[in-house]
């Protein structure tokens, strides 16, 4: 989702970077086609003070397959030893904030996308606290409905200027309009899109970006709507 949205924003000519703060289970490098062998420095190395953040930023604009603004990716390390170390030692999440600010400055970014671990933890809270727009992605099930209620409440307390909900993996049998209306009423947050669960999405898994590969699909049209709202903010 973050890969798709950031790419769509980059395709609108904006300078974009994506930071994968999901240090426990990194994965966003996959749709961008950034191989592990290309990664010398990752976000982990910046956190450990081993490199400046821009050194861990990789130009992945070639993944757009079309002209647009440059797009960079700061991946989390995929090495088991690095994941183990960061989980074991922990880190001061305030370092992340310094890193984000430095990245915006050094790469002259228009948009910085922060991809977080699902749920609420210190990194997520920090990311929410410093964001201008929070896109909350939820699946239409009771567990996510409850979790979203908590996150929305926290985000409101952190004064996030713009919040958008994206309902992901909605089954085709569901009434999308009804789902959207119910979610907007209960959370008092606009639903930017309801993304249907599609075969293409399942088949693609994380190996590519559906909005670029299958732009004609409903799921891709809905993603463009979210990107448009981000661009309009």
């Amino acid at each position: 989702m973050t890969a798709n949205l950031s790419s769509l924003v980059a395709l609108a000519g904006k300078r974009v970077a994506v930071v994968d703060t999901d240090v426990q289970s990194p994965g966003i490098h996959m749709p961008f086609g950034l191989g592990e062998d290309r990664i010398e420095f990752a976000l982990n190395h910046f956190i450990w003070g081993e490199c400046p953040i821009e050194k861990a930023a990789y130009d992945v604009s070639s993944a757009l397959k079309a002209p647009g603004g440059p797009i960079y990716l700061v991946p989390s390390s995929m090495k088991i030893s690095d994941i183990g170390r960061i989980l074991k030692e922990g880190y001061d999440v305030r370092i992340l904030n310094d890193g984000f600010q430095a990245l915006i400055e050094k790469l002259e970014l228009d948009y910085l996308f922060i991809d977080t671990h699902p749920g609420v933890n210190e990194e997520t809270l920090l990311s929410i606290a410093i964001s201008d727009t929070l896109v909350l992605i939820l699946r239409p099930d009771q567990q996510d409905f409850q979790g979203t209620a908590v996150t929305v409440e926290l985000a409101k307390k952190l004064d996030v200027p713009q919040m958008l909900l994206v309902i992901n993996k909605a089954l085709p049998s569901m009434n999308f309009a009804d789902l959207r209306a119910k979610a907007e009423k209960i959370y008092d947050v606009p639903v930017a899109a309801v993304l249907p669960l599609t075969t293409e999405l399942v088949q693609l898994a994380s190996s590519g970006m559906i909005s670029l590969l299958y732009p004609e699909l409903e799921v891709s049209r809905e993603m463009r709507k979210v990107a448009d709202q981000i661009l309009a903010s």
Partner: protein, 293 residues
């Protein structure tokens, strides 16, 4: 008189015709024995055919029904397969409704070229049958289909016109109107795993495989239909369960446990980390706002 046979026998013996008489008796006995053994052979053949039918038809039908996801196709398959197995000329499938009626969901009759319900696209125009008298609440045991549903037992009638105990006036009126002759009828309850009757499978005019003459539904055919009924009921129950689940998903309710939410939010917001983050975020946003204004 008692001696007469012996006398006759003696007479025939005397005249040298005894052998031919005995021979005749012997022939007679032989025919009877052969006829008996032929019957046994036929019976064994029929049993084998039924065993084959069970293995080759009933079980595969059960499997085919289990994977069917379209209700109309499922209903049609149940009735069609039951008709094919029994070589019945006609059949009706009823479903028990929450209002305690038997609703006609599919009606087929080959001779009369009738096909209603299922995938035929034609609605079944017949009114539902009351399982209980609406005024008195007395169970409707006069009708063969409702009686079958109420007692959860199969009912086989060899000839509608000489049967007693059930009211076939509707069937007879139908026959007269359509110039048809309903003879044998079999009703099989479709029972859930918890033995609840969810429908009734009714077959009309079974036919002998060799002659295609209308015959009663014999005991073995009834057993086979009951087996098919069990499989059909399991498939229907599974379909209805899935449908209920799908409907629930379609009408998804967003329920938030407010107490739990407040507790979870409080756990986070009362932490020092959150308080500090909140104040820093406010400062930062105020700064950005000041820069932009």
């Amino acid at each position: 008189m008692i001696h007469l046979p012996f006398s006759i026998l003696n007479f025939f013996w005397s005249y040298g015709v005894g052998a031919s008489l005995l021979g005749a008796v012997g022939i007679h006995v032989g025919q009877k024995a052969r006829s008996h053994s032929q019957n046994l052979v036929r019976q064994a053949e029929r049993e084998k055919k039924r065993a084959d039918k069970l293995a080759n038809f009933v079980i595969p039908i059960g499997l085919a029904l289990a994977v069917e996801t379209d209700l109309n196709t499922l209903l049609e398959k149940i009735l069609l397969e039951a008709k094919i197995l029994s070589l019945a000329d006609g059949g009706t499938l009823y479903l028990v409704t929450p209002e305690n009626t038997l609703r006609f969901v599919m009606v087929l009759n080959d001779s009369l070229k009738i096909a209603m319900g299922g995938t035929s696209g034609k609605e079944v125009s017949l009114p539902p049958l009351n399982l209980y008298d609406p005024a008195t609440g007395v169970p409707n045991l006069h009708n063969i289909a409702t009686s079958c549903a109420l007692d959860a037992q199969s009912i086989s009638v060899a000839d509608v016109y000489s049967a007693e105990g059930y009211d076939f006036s509707g069937t007879k009126a139908f026959d007269k109107k359509m110039n048809y002759r309903t003879i044998s009828v079999l009703c099989v309850p479709l029972k859930n795993a918890d033995r609840t009757v969810i429908g009734v499978l009714q077959l009309i005019n079974a036919r002998a495989p060799e002659t295609l003459q209308v015959v009663p539904f014999d005991e073995h055919l009834c057993q086979m239909m009951e087996l098919l009924g069990l499989l059909a009921a399991a498939s229907l129950a599974s379909y209805l369960k899935t449908k209920k689940l799908t409907d629930q998903i379609a009408e998804l309710k967003i329920q938030i446990d407010e107490v739990k939410k407040e507790r979870q939010v409080a756990e986070i917001t009362e932490s020092d980390y959150f308080k500090s983050l909140q104040s820093r975020a406010r400062e930062m946003r105020a700064k950005v706002k000041g820069q932009n204004s």
